[in-house]
C-alpha cells in the first residue's frame, strides 16, 4: 500500500485527493499546510488521519512514500527538496518551479536519491491527449512533426480566481516571475515540449496587456502572449495565450509530413486532418462530410466513457497519478520524461525573460478594425 501525503491544502489539494481516492493500492496518510486550520479542514473533510503545519514533522511522523506538492509555486522548490531528501517520491503541481535551474536541481537530486519526480502537466493525460499520442506513435503524421500549435485561452471576466488576483495588489500570482502567464501556460507549453528533440530551441516571445485589463487600470498583469519556437532540427511551433480571444479555446494542433491532428481540450475531441486532397469539387464536399463523421465519432466515444464512469472532469490527473504510482512501483518509466519537464521550464524561462524586458506596448484601447472591400 503506497503511503501518500499532501503538502498545501488549498483548492487544488481537493482535486488531488478526489483523484487519489479513485485509485487502488494507496492511502492518504497525512496532509500539511503551514496554516494549520487549512490542514485541519482538509483532513476533516476527507477523513485523513493526521494533519500538520510543519513539513519536517509531517515527513517524519507520517512517513509518506510519495508527496503531492500543491502549494503556491513560490514554495515548490524548497518543499520538493525537503521531500526528496527524506526519500519521498514527489508530484509537483504546475508550474513545476519558478526557474529552470530549480527544475534541473530537483531532477538531479531525484536521480541521486533514486526517487521519482513528476510535474502536474495533467492536460497531457486527458482522454483526448492520450488518443492523440497513440495516433502519433502509430505514425499517423507520416514522420516527425513539422509544425505544432498550442492555444491556451483564459477568460478573465467570469473567472473567480482572476477576480481575486486582479483585485489584490499582493496576490501571489503577481509575485511570480512570469505573473499570470507563469501560473497558467505550463500546460500549453508542455504539450509543445513533448515534441521537441533539441535541448534549447530558439524562443521568440511577445507579451502585452490586453485592452480589457488596461481599461480596468491594470498595468502589471500581462494577459496576451504570442510565442514562436524553432528547433534547429526541423520542428517549429506557435504558442498563443490570450484572455481576449473568443471562442476561448484550449487546443493543440500538430502537422506532420503526411497528416495532421487537432485536439480540443475543452470538448475532448481528436480530429484527424487528412493530408491528401480530393480532385476538384470533391474537396469541397467529401472532407466536410468526413469531419462531420469524425465529430459524431467523438460524441460517441465521449458518451461511452461517460457511461463507463470514466469521464470525470479531472480524469487526466487520475491517469497521470496512476502512471506515476506505477513508475514508483517499478512497473514502468516516469509518465513525463524529465527532459520534457526541463524543456518546459527552459522555454518558460526564455518567455518570461523576453516579456519582462519588453516595455508595455501602447495598444489603442479601441483596436481599429480594417474595412475590407468585398
Amino acid at each position: 500500500m503506497l503511503r501518500v501525503g499532501i503538502i498545501g491544502c488549498g483548492k487544488v489539494a481537493d482535486v488531488h485527493i478526489s483523484q487519489i481516492r479513485r485509485i487502488g493500492g494507496c492511502k492518504i496518510v497525512g496532509v500539511c499546510d503551514r496554516e494549520e486550520l487549512m490542514a485541519q479542514q482538509l483532513s476533516e473533510r476527507f477523513g485523513v488521519p493526521r494533519y500538520f503545519s510543519e513539513v519536517g514533522e509531517f515527513l517524519s511522523f507520517s512517513r509518506p512514500d510519495v508527496v503531492h506538492i500543491t502549494t503556491p509555486p513560490q514554495s515548490h522548490f524548497e518543499i520538493a527538496k525537503l521531500c526528496l531528501e527524506s526519500g519521498c517520491h514527489v508530484y509537483v503541481e504546475k508550474p513545476f518551479t519558478l526557474y529552470a535551474w530549480e527544475a534541473k536541481e530537483l531532477v538531479e537530486r531525484a536521480n541521486a536519491s533514486s526517487v521519482k519526480l513528476t510535474a502536474g502537466h495533467n492536460a497531457q493525460f486527458s482522454h483526448a491527449a492520450r488518443r492523440m499520442r497513440r495516433l502519433v506513435q502509430e505514425g499517423y503524421l507520416g514522420g516527425p512533426p513539422v509544425h505544432l500549435e498550442s492555444l491556451w485561452c483564459y477568460e478573465l471576466e467570469d473567472n473567480v480566481f482572476a477576480k481575486a488576483f486582479l483585485g489584490a495588489k499582493r496576490h501571489w500570482v503577481r509575485e511570480l516571475p512570469g505573473g499570470l502567464l507563469h501560473n497558467i501556460i505550463s500546460h500549453g507549453i508542455a504539450k509543445l515540449a513533448a515534441f521537441f528533440t533539441m535541448e534549447s530551441p530558439i524562443v521568440s516571445a511577445h507579451g502585452f496587456i490586453s485592452p480589457l485589463l488596461r481599461g480596468l487600470g491594470e498595468n502589471q498583469i500581462i494577459d496576451e502572449l504570442r510565442v514562436m519556437i524553432c528547433d534547429a532540427e526541423r520542428t517549429t511551433a506557435y504558442f498563443t495565450f490570450s484572455s481576449g480571444m473568443r471562442p476561448s479555446v484550449r487546443q493543440f494542433r500538430i502537422w506532420g509530413a503526411k497528416n495532421g491532428l487537432l485536439v480540443d481540450d475543452d470538448q475532448q475531441t481528436v480530429i484527424k486532418l487528412r493530408g491528401s486532397r480530393y480532385k476538384s469539387y470533391l474537396e469541397m464536399f467529401v472532407p466536410p462530410l468526413n469531419l462531420a463523421g469524425q465529430y459524431v465519432g467523438n460524441v460517441w466515444s465521449n458518451a461511452r466513457l461517460f457511461l463507463a464512469r470514466d469521464f470525470h472532469m479531472d480524469s487526466g490527473m487520475k491517469c497521470l497519478i496512476e502512471a506515476f504510482y506505477r513508475s514508483i512501483a517499478g512497473k514502468q518509466s516516469v509518465p513525463i520524461p524529465y527532459r520534457e519537464i526541463l524543456l518546459t521550464a527552459r522555454i518558460m524561462d526564455d518567455i518570461f525573460q523576453q516579456v519582462s524586458s519588453q516595455s508595455v506596448p501602447q495598444v489603442p484601447l479601441r483596436p481599429v478594425v480594417p474595412r475590407i472591400a468585398c
Binding site: K11, D14, E35, L37, M38, G167, L216, G217, R309
Partner: protein, 344 residues
C-alpha cells in the same frame, strides 16, 4: 447604546452589497468615525459618493487583506465595534471559501484580542447554515433550529465556510471573552442584486425549473438587513446571541416568480412539484455517489431539505431587539424589480 458616536467602528466588506448599506445606516445614525476595510484597490463609485456626502464624518478607507494578520491589526486598531461582513461567494471550492471566511475571521478576531477595546464583534453569517432535515414540512425556522452537522454531504462550500466561521467566532467568545453577535440574514435583495434566488428555482438546464412552489421565500431588503446588523452591534444584552433576519409579509416562491416575470422579464419556467424534485434530487445524489463524482453532488437530499422543502420564518427575536423592517416587502420588491429592469 454600547458606544458613543465618536468611537471607531470597523466595517469589513464595506464595498459589498450589504456593506455599503451598513455604512450608510451607521452615518445616518450619527456615527462619525468609521474605518472601512477594503481589499480591492479600486474604490467603487458608490463608496466615493458616500465619502463625499459626509465630509463632516471621519471615514477612513483602509486598504488591506484580512488574510494578512498585520492588516487586521491595523484595521482593528482602537475599534469599539467590528461589523464583519466580508465574504467570498463567487468561488465554489471548499478550501477557497474556508480560507476567505475562517482564516480571515480568525485573523480579525486575533487582532481584536490584541487591541483589547472591543465592545462588540458582529459576525454576519447566513441562513445557509441551518439544516431542515429533521424539521417537519412547513414548520417555523428560527434561531433554535439545528445547524448542518455534515456539510460535506450537503456539498455546499458556502454552508461549510459559514458554519466554520460561526464556530470560530463562538470559540473566541469562549476562550478570549470576545463579545460577539451572530447575524443570519435570509435572502438579501434590493437594487444592486440581480437574478432570482435559487430558493425559487434553477436555470442550469436551459429552462427555469421552478422548485419553490408554495414555499415562503425568506427575503430581507438590503436596507432592512443593514438596520438589523447595525442594531445588533449597538444593543446592550445581545452578546453571544444569534439573530435571524427576514422581513414581514414574505411572498411565496410562486408569487415571487410571477412578479419577477411580470416586472422584469418573461421567461419560460416549468414547475416541478415537491415530490418530483425530491425524487430527481435523490437520483442525482445516488448517481453522483455511484459514479464517484463524475457528476458533482450539487443536488442532494440535504440541499433539497435546506432550500426546497418549505419552511416558515420568524423574525421575532430580532424584533425583540427593537428592529422593524422600515421598507415593506411590497416597496422593496418594486425597487428591486426597477433595478433588475435597468440591468436587463
Amino acid at each position: 447604546m454600547l458606544i458613543q458616536p465618536d468611537e471607531t467602528i470597523l466595517v469589513t466588506g464595506a464595498t459589498g452589497f450589504i456593506g455599503l448599506s451598513v455604512v450608510r445606516t451607521l452615518l445616518k445614525r450619527g456615527f462619525r468615525n468609521l474605518r472601512l476595510l477594503v481589499r480591492s484597490y479600486r474604490r467603487p463609485a458608490a463608496l466615493e459618493e458616500i465619502v463625499s456626502r459626509h465630509r463632516g464624518a471621519r471615514i477612513e478607507v483602509f486598504h488591506g487583506d484580512l488574510l494578512s494578520p498585520e492588516d487586521c491589526l491595523g484595521a482593528a486598531k482602537d475599534a469599539s465595534v467590528v461589523y464583519h461582513l466580508a465574504v467570498e461567494k463567487g468561488e465554489k471550492s471548499f478550501a477557497y471559501l474556508f480560507m476567505n471566511s475562517v482564516l480571515t475571521t480568525r485573523n480579525l478576531l486575533e487582532a481584536c484580542v490584541a487591541q483589547r477595546r472591543l465592545r462588540r464583534f458582529v459576525n454576519v453569517s447566513s441562513f445557509a447554515v441551518y439544516t431542515n432535515c429533521e424539521k417537519p414540512l412547513g414548520k417555523v425556522l428560527d434561531e433554535l433550529c439545528p445547524v448542518e452537522q455534515d456539510p460535506m454531504r450537503r456539498g455546499d462550500p458556502y454552508c461549510f465556510a459559514k458554519l466554520k466561521q460561526d464556530e470560530i467566532v463562538m470559540e473566541y467568545g469562549r476562550k478570549h471573552a470576545i463579545p460577539y453577535v451572530i447575524i443570519r440574514p435570509g435572502v438579501v435583495y434590493g437594487p444592486g442584486s440581480n437574478g432570482i434566488t435559487g430558493r425559487v428555482g434553477i436555470g442550469t438546464f436551459g429552462v427555469f425549473l421552478h422548485l419553490g412552489g408554495p414555499n415562503q421565500v425568506p427575503l430581507t431588503y438590503v436596507d432592512n438587513c443593514a438596520d438589523a446588523i447595525v442594531l445588533a452591534g449597538l444593543s446592550e444584552g445581545a452578546d453571544g446571541e444569534a439573530f435571524n433576519v427576514v422581513d414581514d409579509d414574505l411572498p411565496s416562491s410562486r408569487k415571487l416568480l410571477q412578479l419577477y416575470k411580470k416586472n422584469v422579464k418573461h421567461f419560460r419556467s416549468v414547475y416541478i412539484p415537491r415530490a418530483v424534485s425530491y425524487l430527481l434530487t435523490c437520483i442525482w445524489e445516488d448517481y453522483s455517489h455511484w459514479s464517484r463524482g463524475q457528476l458533482p453532488p450539487l443536488f442532494n437530499r440535504k440541499i433539497w431539505h435546506a432550500y426546497w422543502k418549505g419552511s416558515r420564518y420568524s423574525n421575532a427575536k430580532m424584533k425583540n431587539l427593537g428592529w422593524t423592517p422600515q421598507i415593506s416587502t411590497a416597496d422593496g420588491l418594486i425597487r428591486y424589480f426597477e433595478s433588475c429592469r435597468e440591468q436587463v
